[in-house]
Amino acid sequence: MRDLSIYIHIPFCVRKCLYCDFLSYAASAAEMKSYVNLLLRQIKAESVFYRDHRVVSVFLGGGTPSLLPAEEVGGILRAVRENYRMADEVETTIECNPGTAAAEKLKDYITYGINRLSIGLQSTKNEELARIGRIHNYETFLNTYQAAREAGFTNINIDLMAALPGQSIASYRESLERVTALLPEHISAYSLILEEGTPLYDRREQYHFPTEEEDRNMYQMTKEYLGEKGYQRYEISNYAREGFACRHNQVYWQRGDYVGFGLGAASMVRDVRWSMPESMGAYQDYVEGMPVRVDNLSYRHFPGAYVLTIQEQMEEFMFLGLRMMCGVDCRTFDDKFGQEMEAVYGPVIAQMMSQGLIQKEGGRIKLTDRGIDVSNYVMAEFLFE
């Protein structure tokens, strides 16, 4: 029996943030309702494909999943439970933006079996939040956080961003201090990446963005400060207190099986990758075109299903695995591919080691501190010509 992780995409937001280039938009209650119906249908119909799997984690991401009425979230999770074999302990996360989940809703989440909450705070500075178009302020966040604790959440992640327009080293440090003082179990900290085509990109001239030097200092500060506060970095931009590393997140890097439900959601099962359509119309056509009662499904059924070549699997094994601080296990590689990692990547590994970017330790290969700093450079080296 294989483990399965489920990702469910809720593409709705009160308003799109200025830096966001993910699939999300504002929608009416009716649009949300009909979208949830599509989701339910997909979840049920595709379940036959996963009869040999058991679900170990569920992640409701977005968009802003907490924007859905609580009972819709309940309905989605019930559909999962009723149609899939569930492991004894399932990590079930919902993403939530401050101000979209009142105390009542949070309590409901607990009753649906949601045991992990991920709150998109980004910054504790209201002027920084306003500049990137977030709908909340720090005070709203504090209310949501307190309400979550009161509702009984014992595993909370807080998202933080560095390199925001107008952000200074001092203000970023203050955000770190304020957030760690709340003692969340998990912190996701990453730098803003200005994506072309976003409103923030278009108005980039108006703002002062942290210089490269400042950006790097913020980044350094993040790992040092969070380390001091007892948060262990287990992945490039994720930090957790002992025992709270996000299981769902690690599945992506360790190439476990996961399926995505909903608009644009990505899946990988047994080294086959596919994605749901990114336009609502196409997604609807897909779901409505599915047989209502089927005994069997094959990969052919999934849009754009692509069987990764052995080389691609090796590449992914390396560049995804290296994102984890524990690195990649050589034996696992050898067993999976029937070739020794040394035989495939020997020269690259030697070169990267000579540059002090990776290290070998206990049969594993992992990035050094310097290697983490320039991880894109290192990972690109593991791609084949």
Binding site: S188, R216, A266, M268, E315, F319, L320, S375, E385
Partner: protein, 604 residues
């Protein structure tokens, strides 16, 4: 067919400043005379290369024969010869003009006379063509046909009061132009019974027929079976086919006789044998002397061309060979660069010619190229008395062996509105120009004459000229000769290694400035490495400028969302791909764009 009345033939061309509507007028004439219905017309029939249409310029001379039913009741044969419009192709223009008896001068009703207008008119008058003007774009709100008429009369000195007022774009006044062709372009002269004397004004290569020679029969006649001789190159051949030009196709006929414009094929394998400007005569009954004006075209600008992917070297060689078949003015020979590997040193008529060849190689032959900075031909006089013509800066002999050097100088004419005279003169001064004169064309416009070193104008002079005059200046030049000059070789060192492909020859006085700009530019072009990279400019081993590419300290992609790793992979692939497109010099990877960045150093 054999006896076409010479008095019913009109051989003419259209001359104009770039963008004044030459090709559009040609299209209208073809359309009007019914050679093609407007449905069949693809805009600008005569510009048949994709590139020509895109850039709105004519690169190769194009010719079409049309039948016009004139108002006098007679049918006339029009041979319209569309000439290239750019200064790089001046010689081709002059040969095309020599094939005509008259010329339509198209002048933009809003812009009036421009530098190229003048240059082309003088060229036409030099060839004894009867030139008559038409005023185009009269439907523009800013059109001032009366002012332009006066300008034509004052500046050029040709009658313009009854010039047809037309809009080629909207088909206004085309009939009038056609009538003017009948009445103002003289019928060809020349006896059909004299020995054959025909002018080659262009040629193209066809893989079945060999070289197709475009010619104007000045005297005599030629038909299938005639043994011909090219008087300058000495090549001989037997004619296989003669014919004339339909729109976009060759139409065979029995014979070409004096006054006619057409083509001939004779299983000629090499365009070199059919040099533009050469005279074709009958091998058995040759004419006494060739037509005047033939000259061998020389390349003025050289650059190195290298395949981005070293393995594509044979492809590049094949592509150059094929282009050369159609373009006798392209020269190339193999060369090797430490930084760029195997490639070719190619010679061109000018920078536009270079760009066109480069673009054709990239588009038609799907090649990814790295070109080095263009260079002119320097004459290096050595202390031992030898003189070498230097086309590749890396081949410059050691300074101790050099007595002195000479560089090519051009006579340039710049037409500019008076408000921009200051900035343009300053530009010319910066480019080591020698002021000759200013002529006022009218109260608001002047013609500036300068002598400029060619190497100062092949980089970005044209762009600089346009930007400093807000697009109002126009420019024309011709080679004047060679002059002694104080020149040095500027070398670029990246991480202490000299990069041969980045070396160039520069005047001693501008070496420091150029070196500094080069370093700045390269600093932006070269991506960060894991270590610090010094970029230095040196003259004769002495460092004159330096910049540093700082070491890469952070390159992390943060979030990977919902398990969608495709973006991340794309980013890594891009990074990897980018690396592949770089050139390794020592342990530094230099992107290809860096080799071309030297072209654009004017930052005004």
């Amino acid at each position: 067919m054999a006896d076409i009345d010479q008095s019913r033939i009109r051989n003419f061309c259209i001359i104009a400043h770039i963008d004044h509507g030459k090709s559009t007028l040609a299209d209208r004439i073809i359309e009007k005379t019914g050679l093609l219905t407007s449905r069949e017309m693809q805009a600008q029939v005569l510009d048949n290369m994709e590139l020509e249409r895109e850039r709105g310029i004519t690169i190769k001379a194009q010719t079409v024969r049309i039948i016009y039913q004139a108002k006098d009741g007679n049918e006339y044969i029009f041979n319209l010869i569309d000439t290239p419009g750019h200064v790089d192709f001046n010689y081709e223009v002059s040969r095309s003009l020599a094939a005509c008896d008259g010329a339509i001068l198209v002048v933009d009703a809003a812009q009036g006379i421009e530098a190229q207008t003048l240059a082309n008119v003088y060229l036409a008058l030099d060839h004894d063509l009867d030139v008559f003007p038409v005023i185009n774009k009269i439907d523009l709100p800013s059109a001032e046909p009366e002012r332009v008429k006066n300008e034509i009369e004052d500046v050029i000195g040709i009658e313009a009061q009854d010039a047809p007022l037309i809009s080629a774009k909207n088909g206004i006044g085309i009939e009038e132009v056609l009538e003017a062709v009948v009445h103002k372009v003289p019928a060809p002269q020349g006896s059909p019974d004299a020995p054959l004397k025909a002018l080659i004004f262009d040629s193209v290569y066809d893989s079945y027929k060999g070289v197709i020679v475009f010619c104007r029969i000045k005297e005599g006649r030629v038909c299938k079976g005639t043994s011909i001789k090219m008087m300058a190159t000495g090549a001989t051949a037997e004619v296989v086919e003669v014919g004339y030009f339909g729109a976009g196709q060759f139409i065979p006929c029995e014979e070409l006789s004096a006054g006619m414009v057409g083509y001939l094929t004779a299983s000629i394998k090499n365009v070199k044998d059919t040099a533009v400007g050469d005279t074709v005569t009958d091998l058995d009954n040759p004419c006494a002397e060739p037509l005047p004006g033939y000259k061998k075209v020389n390349s003025m600008v050289y650059c190195g061309m290298y395949p981005a992917d070293g393995a594509k070297y044979p492809d590049l060689r094949d592509a150059l060979e094929k282009l050369k078949l159609n373009d006798a003015s392209l020269n190339y020979e193999p060369e090797t660069s430490i930084a760029l590997g195997f490639g070719f040193r190619c010679g061109f008529l000018g920078l536009l010619h270079l760009e066109i060849i480069q673009e054709r190689l990239e588009r038609e032959y799907n090649l990814d190229l790295v070109t080095t900075a263009p260079s002119v031909i320097y004459r290096v006089y050595k202390t031992n008395g030898d003189m070498i013509e230097l086309t590749n800066p890396s081949n410059l002999p050691d300074p101790s062996e050099i007595d002195y050097m000479e560089e090519p100088v051009v006579s340039a004419e710049i037409m500019v509105t008076t408000e921009f005279i200051g900035p343009i003169m300053q530009l010319c001064q910066e480019r080591r120009g020698r002021y000759i004169s200013t002529e006022y064309i009218e109260a608001t416009r002047a013609l500036l004459k300068y002598e400029l070193p060619l190497n100062e104008i092949i980089y970005d002079f044209f762009d600089a000229l346009k930007s400093r005059s807000r697009g109002y200046a126009s420019f024309d030049y011709e080679l004047k000769g060679y002059e002694q000059s104080s020149l040095v070789k500027l070398d670029i060192l990246i991480n202490h290694d000299e990069v041969d492909a980045l070396s160039f020859i520069v005047h001693a006085d501008s070496a420091y400035e150029r070196g500094r700009k080069m370093c700045e530019k390269l600093k932006d072009e070269i991506p960060r490495h894991l270590f610090e990279i010094p970029i230095q400019a040196a003259v004769g081993g002495k460092i004159i400028a330096r910049e540093t590419v700082k070491a890469m300290r952070k390159d992390v992609l943060a979030k990977c969302y919902g398990g969608d790793i495709t973006r991340k992979k794309k980013l890594l692939e891009k990074q990897k791909e980018g690396k592949k497109r770089m050139r390794q010099v020592g342990n530094v990877e230099i992107p290809q764009s860096a080799f071309m960045s030297v072209l654009k150093l004017d930052d005004k």
